[in-house]
């Protein structure tokens, strides 16, 4: 059975300015540094088979990025608890960090939330600002992350707007039947009604730069970005820092996230960074 490691990671601070392809390169190097037994493509130029979720716009922060790492066939060792850091002939075995958790079945992170050796080692190998908050083991079959996510949760600032003005703008937008915005797509200006994509929108507070809003925006048929809302909410103002907080999929018991941070959740409680 082919198994994948699903990794949830953050992207906050200065590192928010690297692009999606940069994230892929940085992740590939981190996986090699940790020595995870990840599958490569075949052929003359074997590449690591990483699959990322929805691309995050450059400059946005996130605490909910996902990447799946397909494991090689013999990466999973059956039976017994593995010792932390143990290696076998096929390379390092993925094991739980000793002490805080009971060893998972087969010495691997189970699908239950866990913070494992892998998470710690990957965080260590990634640049500052990219931290792994959850690692789960999932079956190799199933839809791609990109296809499964239907809604993203966001938090974003509107620079220089106070909370009461923001609250009024939010109420007006939610009351409107249509909200037409323009964006440039492949060199052409496209206008579209984004009102149906706005599932939740509210003011959650203030930062030293302005109002902080949270939103849930649909990701299908395309990902609507907070930056598209700002001209409709406050045309004279710029968006400050925006952060993705969640990516939602449909699960058997209602909506769910592809992987939920557990032990390290506290790490991400700081407000939107400066």
């Amino acid at each position: 059975m082919s198994l994948r490691l699903r990794v949830r990671f953050s992207k906050v601070g200065k590192i928010r300015f690297i692009g999606h392809r940069d994230v892929a390169r940085v992740t590939e190097r981190a996986v090699r540094k940790v020595g995870l037994p990840v599958a490569y493509s075949q052929g003359f130029s074997p590449r690591m088979k990483l699959s990322f979720g929805l691309a995050l716009p450059t400059g946005y922060e996130s605490e909910a990025e996902f990447v799946e790492l397909p494991l090689v066939a013999d990466a999973v060792r059956d039976g017994g608890a593995a010792e932390p850091g143990a290696r076998h002939a096929a390379g390092p075995v993925i094991v739980c960090r000793g002490g805080t958790h009971a060893p998972c079945e087969r010495g691997l992170p189970s699908t239950a939330p866990s913070y494992c050796t892998v998470a710690g080692a990957l965080s260590e190998a990634l640049p500052v600002g990219m931290e792994v908050s959850a690692v789960t083991l999932v079956d190799g079959r199933g839809p791609s992350l990109q296809a499964a996510v239907h809604t993203c949760g966001w938090q974003f600032e509107i620079v220089g707007l106070d909370a009461s003005a923001a609250a009024k703008a939010v109420a007006d937008l939610l009351a409107a039947g249509t909200v037409v915005t323009e964006r440039v797509h492949k060199g052409e200006t496209v206008s579209s009604n984004i009102r149906p994509s706005v599932e939740v929108l509210q003011v959650v507070g203030c930062s030293d730069r302005g109002a902080v809003l949270s939103a849930e925006l649909s990701a299908t048929p395309r990902v609507v970005r907070p930056s598209e809302l700002v001209p409709a909410l406050a045309p004279a103002h710029e968006m400050g820092i925006a952060r993705r907080t969640h990516q939602w999929t449909s699960g058997a018991a209602g909506r769910a996230e592809p992987a939920v941070p557990a032990m390290c959740a506290q790490r991400h409680k700081e407000p939107i960074s400066g």
């Binding site: 200065k14 590192i15 300015f17 690297i18 692009g19 392809r21 940069d22 390169r25 940085v26 590939e28 190097r29 981190a30 996986v31 090699r32 540094k33 020595g35 037994p37 990840v38 599958a39 490569y40 493509s41 075949q42 003359f44 130029s45 074997p46 450059t58 400059g59 090689v72 013999d74 290696r87 002939a89 096929a90 390379g91 390092p92 190998a125 640049p127 500052v128 600002g129 400066g274």
Partner: protein, 669 residues
């Protein structure tokens, strides 16, 4: 010393490639500042993605930060979009490490890898909030330094730079740190800037232009003489004798965004004595100093493990000449299995380490080396025959035969490559049309060989216009004007006919002219650089930003002649602008080699044959450090081949008449 990050951050969403400005590399240091530390800002005057991989800058970055009395950060030229935002917001040039203002540093030191970055040097000084002309800066302003290969003719930048470092920087930066530190502790009092400059001028390998008088005789340079008795008349280069003592960089910077050489680099040797007469690097970096094989292996292994890279470049001016190169490549490729710890992940080769060998001589690219390299992902292959005909290759002393080239090409195609790049220079001394056209014939013959192995066989021919460089035997040669270089490109193109397997690329001939102005310019050229900069001529290395008309306008405005500075042949006794800079080479050696070139006489590699006393070793009491007594991969050179058979075609250099009037060199028309 406060960080400028809060002011920079809001600008970044508005510019292209904001990751250029954030630092965050693996290996980045966050040095502190303080009165006890001499702080260096190491500046690369081009974009981040060009400058970040520079090994010289990274070596000094580590060495300085290891010193208890120094700190070093880095900066790169901001692209024009950020520059506009910075100027509008009043934000000065900043370091990418801690985002401190450039003006807060004690020294801003520029790496000069190419002449066309000179206008960017001025722009960076200006963005730092400083006067571009050294004489107008304040006593407590940062000192502006410069080093790198272009510093071997410092004169075009002499009015803007306080001090130049000639040669290897590893040792001399310590001496500069100590001198500047002592000055800093006295408070950089008013009137003391000239004192520190004079102190710096006393350090071996340091050139302080303000300490010299320049005299002219009409358009000619008469003399460059020291103003004071304690200032040396000849500034001799610094050379580190043993590379084994300098295993740097130990922690190569691994960037978070794409850069031009995004791989591990390990310098396997420094210097080259193949003696190619056009090659400045091969002349000024002598002698050959190999890094011990065990140290190379250690640096490769630890570097890969630390960085997560799966590709390593074995760096030098001619890597196939490294003693034991085939074994080194083999061990590097297979060593990846040990490093990554998995041999049976997906396909046997998934975790192999790719090896890239820049500067491969064709007479050393054997089937063995090709087979070793191809065991991992195949890296791009570039061969540099430099000239199309054997006659011309003898003139330039690039002594590889057609058979050598075909052998290398066959090795590559037989080991699975489909395409390769062939690099040539045009506008070489004594080049005649048949020499130029021979480039097309060589390329076509290579694709013929390729078709024996693959239907997809092709080659890319890349043509560069030759720009004569200081401290080489060709420093006396008059450069081809752009029209002539363009004509030679057309000549190759028409000789290629409809051969679809050969793709032709060429360097803009107009850019070669601007490069020529700065390459062999004297101090008067500084005004030209300032003019071009003031008219917005930054990033002249970038074709979309380059404009020859601006340079021509600047030359005219400064009353200088392109013909005098670029196109004219120099005479044996002419005072050259870099005569007071010592690269270790005897001037009469260079002149005789120039005469030998014109006579078509080759010169063997002194690594494996008797010394001909160019001066590089004898003047400094140092020697080659090579592990192999013979050329590691055989090849034509250094194997007893008769080198003195090139004078079948008579060569004569005729003095040029006027710029643009006919052929620039003998027999070109």
């Amino acid at each position: 010393m406060t960080t400028l990050w809060p002011r920079l951050e809001p600008l970044l969403p508005r510019v292209s490639k904001p990751a250029r400005y954030i630092g965050c590399e693996d290996g980045m240091q966050r040095p502190t500042a303080g009165p006890h530390l001499t702080s260096w800002l190491l500046a690369y005057p081009d974009t981040y993605e060009i400058g970040l991989p520079n090994q010289g800058l990274q070596i000094l970055y580590e060495l300085l930060n290891e010193r208890p009395d120094a700190s070093a950060e880095r900066t790169y030229a901001p692209w024009i979009d950020l520059e506009a935002e910075m100027r509008a917001a009043g934000l000065p040039l900043f370091s990418v490490d801690t985002h401190r203002a450039a003006g807060d540093f004690d020294i801003i030191a520029f790496n000069l890898s190419a002449e066309l970055v000179y206008t960017n040097v001025l722009n960076c000084i200006d963005l730092a909030g400083l006067e571009v002309r050294a004489a107008r800066r304040n006593d407590d302003d940062p000192l502006i330094g410069a080093g790198g290969h272009c510093a071997y003719n410092p004169e075009p930048l002499a009015d803007f730079v306080d001090f130049f470092v000639i040669g290897d920087g590893e040792e001399v930066v310590s001496e500069i740190t100590e001198a500047v530190g002592a000055w800093k502790r006295t408070g950089k009092r008013p009137g003391t800037r000239s004192t520190i400059l004079r102190d710096l001028a006393g350090i071996e390998g340091v050139y302080v232009p303000a300490m010299y008088d320049v005299a002219y005789d009409g358009p000619a340079l008469a003399a460059v003489t020291p103003k004071y008795p304690d200032v040396p008349a000849l500034v001799a280069k610094r050379t580190v004798a043993d590379l084994a003592e300098w295993p740097y960089p130990r922690r190569q910077l691994v960037p978070v965004t794409e850069v031009v050489h995004d791989r591990l680099s390990v310098e396997v040797f420094r210097g080259c004595t193949r003696g190619c007469r056009f090659c400045q690097a091969g002349m000024i970096t002598r002698p050959v100093r190999e890094r011990p094989a065990a140290q190379v292996r250690e640096m490769v292994t630890s570097g890969l493990e630390r960085s997560g890279y799966d590709e390593v470049s074995l760096m030098s001016l001619s890597t196939a000449d490294y003693s034991g190169i085939a074994e080194l490549v083999r061990d590097t490729v297979t060593g990846g299995n040990i490093t990554a710890g998995a041999s049976n992940t997906a396909g046997a080769d998934a975790n192999r380490i790719s090896v890239s060998l820049p500067s491969m001589r064709v007479d050393a690219f054997t089937v063995d080396v090709a087979a070793q390299v191809s065991r991992a992902r195949r890296t791009g292959l570039t061969f540099a025959p430099e000239a199309g005909s054997w006659r011309l290759r003898q003139i330039i002393n690039k002594l590889i035969t057609e058979e050598d080239l075909y052998g290398a090409v066959r090795s590559a195609y037989s080991q699975g490559w489909h395409r390769m790049k062939l690099y040539f220079l045009t506008g070489l001394p004594s080049e005649m049309d048949p020499d130029t056209e021979a480039i097309a014939h060589l390329a076509a013959a290579c694709t013929q060989i390729g078709q024996e192995y693959t239907k997809r066989a092709s080659v890319t021919v890349s043509l560069g216009g030759f720009v004569p460089k200081p401290h080489t035997p060709f420093q006396w040669f008059g450069q081809n004007p752009p029209e002539e270089l363009a004509r030679k490109v057309r000549l190759v193109r028409s000789a290629l006919g409809r051969n679809r397997r050969v793709q032709l690329k060429w360097h803009d001939p107009a850019a070669s002219t601007a490069e020529g102005i700065a390459s062999r310019g004297d101090r008067r050229v500084g005004a030209v650089i300032e003019y071009v900069w003031r008219k917005g001529g930054t990033f002249q290395e970038w074709s979309e930003r380059f404009d020859l008309a601006l340079w021509e306008e600047a030359m005219a405005a400064c009353g200088l002649s392109l013909d005098w500075y670029v196109y004219r042949h120099r005479g044996e006794h002419e005072v050259l602008p870099w005569d007071h800079i010592g690269a270790g080479l005897h001037r009469d050696f260079l002149w005789h080699d120039w005469q030998d070139a014109l006579a078509g006489h080759g010169l063997p590699d002194c690594r494996w044959t008797p010394c001909y006393d160019c001066g590089a070793c004898t003047e400094y009491g140092i020697e080659h450090m090579v592990a192999s007594p013979v050329a590691p991969n055989g090849g034509s050179q250094g194997t007893g081949q008769d080198l003195a058979t090139g004078h079948l075609v008579p060569v004569e250099l005729r003095p040029r008449q006027l710029a643009g009037a006919g052929a620039p060199s003998g027999g070109g028309a």
